[in-house]
């Protein structure tokens, strides 16, 4: 059979009509991912050189670590992409169980590691792990397995849906206990999005989703700092040097950036004005230095990654691989929701919440998890196209 090069880039809608050899990798997704990783390295370097020199005494402190995380991420993605998806789906319940144990461990004083007043980390030697991050993947894999099995049945009792929703609520509760409302919200939004795309009866997915949102909101308001953040979010300029500090500084960065930005490396807000400039507020630094053009580009790339994931999911579904499809939907939703959430916070559309910008901002756990997710996506596409 003659090999035509352009066939590599053609996405077959139905494997039945794919007479050409299947493309091994989803190149557009790979390119978009690598673009985000590269942009992250540049921006982390720009945002952290001055602060790292001031705080750590080594300008490349954060940059070097970020590069190491990115390299580990690429490795993790390669591993995820080379193992059969069925393996992950099979062990998903176990992973979920282990993740829940870790989440519970974090809550035990003496084991959980506290940073900035929140106990969200486990410390193993010099490494710290935030269990809520891998939990995102565990939930996606577990739900994908659950939805995949469900589609094989003719009739699924509502009872089994409710059991799954109950499990989600339990996991959410554990993360809420770490005061990590942002991660909880992202996780629940992703999970219910998967249930919705998975054809779950509306009464099962929309009802609990609304209830979860209401419950999360009520719980969050119990904590004074959340309320304070919410209030300052509505008008950060009422107290620009107190509760509105982060938001006003982020907005100033965006305002300074204008349409075309002040130029890469020329930003001022990263110089100790913006807290977490290389981390949760990296997008604001990007907006200041690259301007509106950069903002639109980043949003577009994230949207593209998400749409690509949904496309991969559709292919997989069409190929009769529901588990892979649900994994792809889940990861697409996770990346997009978290990215838009982070960008919304940076631009002052959403209340401040400690969420990293996937693939771009500094942070080991998030980097490994998101890269693994992309690896799984590539695996889904690969398995679909190989028809195995």
């Amino acid at each position: 059979m003659p090999v035509r090069p352009q066939a590599q880039f053609r996405v077959p809608v139905n494997p039945a009509e794919a007479a050409e050899p299947p493309p091994i990798l989803d190149l557009p997704l790979l390119v978009a991912t690598l673009a985000l990783l590269g942009l992250g390295m540049v921006m982390v370097a720009s945002a952290s050189l001055a602060t790292a020199a001031g705080e750590e005494g080594a300008p490349f402190h954060y940059f070097v670590r970020h590069c190491a995380y990115a390299a580990s991420g690429v490795l993790a993605a390669a591993v995820a992409a080379s193992l059969p998806l069925s393996l992950w789906i099979r062990i998903a319940p176990w992973l979920l169980g282990a993740g829940m144990v870790l989440l519970a461990l974090v809550l035990i004083p003496g084991i959980g590691h506290e940073v900035n007043g929140s106990r969200r980390w486990l410390r193993i030697g010099s490494l710290t792990l935030q269990p809520s991050e891998p939990m995102k993947l565990c939930v996606i894999l577990y739900l994908a397995g659950f939805l995949g099995r469900r589609s094989a049945e003719h009739e699924t009792p509502v009872r089994s849906y409710m059991a799954t929703v109950g499990l989600l609520v339990a996991i959410a509760a554990l993360i809420v206990l770490e005061s990590d409302y942002g991660t909880t919200a992202v996780l629940l939004a992703t999970a219910f999005g998967m249930l919705y795309l998975g054809g779950t009866p509306l009464v099962v997915c929309v009802g609990p989703a609304l209830a979860a949102a209401a419950g999360l909101g009520t719980l969050a308001l119990q904590e004074s700092y959340v309320l304070e953040r919410l209030l300052s979010f509505t008008n950060p300029w009422a107290d620009p040097f107190g509760s509105g500090f982060q938001l006003t500084q982020a907005q100033i960065a965006i305002g300074r950036g204008g349409w075309f930005g002040v130029g890469l490396g020329e930003g001022v807000q990263k110089l100790f004005y913006l807290p977490e400039a290389h981390n949760d507020f990296l997008f604001a630094v990007l907006a200041e230095e690259l301007g509106f053009v950069g903002v639109v580009a980043v949003i577009a790339v994230f949207l593209f990654v998400c749409l690509r994931a949904i496309g991969i999911g559709r292919e997989s579904e069409a190929a009769g691989r529901p588990c892979g499809a649900h994994v792809a939907y889940g990861i697409g939703l996770l990346v997009a929701i978290q990215a838009f959430f982070n960008i919304g916070v940076n631009m002052g559309v959403l209340p401040t919440k400690g969420l990293p910008l996937p693939l771009v901002s500094y942070g080991g756990s998030s980097m490994l998890v998101t890269c693994s997710g992309i690896g799984l996506l590539l695996r889904v596409a690969l398995e679909t196209r190989r028809g195995r």
Partner: protein
């Protein structure tokens, strides 16, 4: 593919379309918000940013140098670094695990106790700026910088250095930590020396560090360099000579002044005890005083040339007129004046040469008190030098209308009147330059202005001959001589007043002189306060110091030797007696 195994999204694509639509709507919302922020709030946000980033900062202006008359630096500013800490950052950082070693190292470099350093920072943890150590040398500062302790920074400053150290400390004075003049010339000429800082708009990071200089608002104006009248070499020579003299005679203090008699410039002014102005610790008041200008003493016999000059100017006497000092004591009212021994009948010149108290008394009593007073007053007794030097004393010369007889008598051999070393030097400069009162200056004088004549030229010339005889071999001031030069001068030894009474064994030892006699250039006064060694006569203690200073100064100024021919001295010496301190009779123990 059987229908039963079909997935839901494919079966119901509406859900997927809805999800995709929502994601796209979210993305569009974010983009729209970015447009809205830029369009509606861009200017406001940029303004807010500038309000936070831009500050007006001072541009330091360098303080002027102080130079000696030949341009050699006496006070210069050199860069140093002050170590500061931002306690808000430092405390947070040091709260972790590892930093202990760094804090210990920092404390060691700063020569502070680690616990004290911690305490210092902790106790001010509410502030954002705190000096840990001021003014380290650049090399020292580099070691601190290398530690890179978070929240600890360096600030470049200027610090004054005084190359002559303690040799010139009293004249130059010193400037404080922030380069503000506090003593001496540094204080007196503060307005000219001080730089006027400029200002600029700077971009700062949120820790106050300047990231970028945006625009200059006002240029800094550096201070003026000031050229003093001081000659660093003569200053150094004078300091060493005085120090040796004070040490040798275990004296309490001492001063020496070298005046250029033709320009009124102070070429050197030194004191003991002194201090090193480069040291951080400020000395006690006694060391700080520029005694040559702030402390007065009774001039003793060094006043006699001016009494004799007044007598000569009265027309009643000439240098050859004889005075009978027999038998060595002379009773005036209840007061007895004594000479060291009976000098017999001597001429007016001899009164100065042998330093006869009786002779001086008789001359003074013979002439109009007003004349004595006015002649002393005109050469500067009782009036400040107007040098502008901080803390200058005026000295005391009571008006003749209030003189009691005792006062009139004691004045003639230098009691009941007080002067500073500078005043005495100025008075001797009058004799040296032919009768003109110099305007004393601490800055270099390029063209001296006209001075007031306060002594007739012939009298001044006659007095120079008299003074030269004092230093001639066998005279009381012979130890003031300098080989190769003709020197003139007068010794003096005055008793100190301790607790309101003249003490029996505490003296001020003086020598005031002129060099060289052929073309007088210098007037030099040496005062040694309370020598406690074997000797206390001015001729033994102060004259050798004078000799060393004069010799050095003449060499530095390249003054040609004028004693290579044998000079016929017009005043012939008949006796060689030590200089005579006042002997007070018991009845008049409590002189003013």
């Amino acid at each position: 593919m059987s229908g039963g195994s079909r997935s839901s999204a494919l079966r119901a694509p509406g859900r997927r379309y809805l999800a995709v639509s929502m994601l796209m709507a979210s993305a569009l919302t974010l983009v729209g918000w970015a447009v809205y922020l830029n369009l509606n709030h861009g200017a406001f946000l940029q303004e807010q940013g500038e309000a936070r980033h831009l500050r007006e900062a001072a541009i330091p202006a360098h303080r002027g140098k102080i130079l000696d008359r030949n341009g050699q630096p006496l006070a210069i500013s050199a860069p140093v670094f002050s170590v500061w800490a931002d306690p808000t950052v430092f405390v947070e950082w040091s709260g972790g695990g590892d930093p202990d070693k760094k804090i210990d190292a920092l404390a060691e470099f700063l020569e502070l106790d680690p616990a004290a350093l911690r305490e210092k920072v902790l106790s001010r943890s509410d502030r954002e700026f705190l000096y840990l150590r001021r003014q380290l040398t650049p090399a020292h500062a580099e070691r601190v910088r290398a530690l890179a302790v978070p929240g600890v920074g360096l600030r470049r400053e200027d610090r004054r250095y005084y190359p002559l150290g303690e040799a010139a400390s009293h004249v130059i004075g010193f400037a404080g930590m922030d380069e503000e003049g506090q003593e001496g010339v540094e204080l007196a000429l503060e307005a000219r020396l001080a730089g006027h800082p400029g200002s600029e708009r700077v971009l700062r990071d949120n820790r106050g560090r300047v990231v970028e200089r945006v625009e200059r608002l006002e240029a800094p104006r550096p201070g003026e360099d000031i050229v003093l009248s001081i000659d660093a070499q003569i200053q150094h020579i004078a300091y060493q000579a005085l120090l040796d003299g004070v040490k040798e005679h275990r004296a309490h203090a001492g001063s020496a002044v070298v005046l250029d008699v033709r320009s009124g410039e102070v070429l050197a002014m030194v004191n003991q005890p002194s201090y090193n102005p480069n040291r951080r610790t400020r000395p006690a008041g006694g060391r700080l005083r520029n005694r040559a200008i702030t402390d007065v003493f009774e001039p003793g016999s060094t006043i006699k040339p001016f009494i004799v000059a007044a007598a000569l100017e009265s027309g009643q006497f000439n240098v050859g007129t004889v005075v009978d000092t027999t038998p060595g004591t002379f009773r005036v009212g209840r007061h007895t004046v004594r000479d060291v021994r009976n000098y017999g009948v001597i001429d007016v010149a001899q009164v100065v040469v042998v330093s006869s108290n009786i002779g001086a008394t008789k001359l003074a009593l013979a002439i109009d008190p007003e004349l004595t007073w006015s002649r002393l007053s005109r050469v500067g007794f009782g009036t400040g030098s107007a040098s502008g030097f901080p803390g200058e004393a005026q000295g005391v010369l009571n008006h003749f209308s209030g003189w009691r007889q005792t006062e009139h008598v004691t004045l003639s051999y230098g009691y009941g009147v007080s002067v500073t070393a500078l005043q005495l030097a100025r008075a001797y400069a009058v004799i040296a330059n032919g009768g003109l009162l110099p305007r004393v200056s601490f800055v270099r004088v390029d063209r001296p202005d006209d001075w007031l004549r306060v002594m007739s030229e012939p009298v001044a010339r006659q007095m120079r001959h008299v003074l030269e005889a004092v230093v001639a071999p066998g005279g009381t001031g012979r130890r003031a001589g300098v080989p190769g030069y003709r020197i003139g001068g007068k010794t003096g030894t005055s008793r100190k007043i301790i607790g309101g009474r003249y003490a029996d064994d505490r003296y001020i030892s003086l020598f005031a002189g002129i060099a060289p006699m052929s073309h007088p250039r210098l007037a030099i006064v040496v005062m040694v306060d309370d020598p406690s060694g074997e000797h206390y006569y001015g001729g033994r203690v102060a004259a050798p110091v004078f000799s060393r200073i004069a010799q050095g100064a003449l060499r530095v100024l390249a003054v040609a030797p004028d004693d290579h021919v044998v000079v016929t001295r017009r005043v012939h010496l008949r006796s060689e007696g030590p200089d005579s301190p006042l002997k007070v009779s018991a009845a008049s123990g409590a002189l003013p």
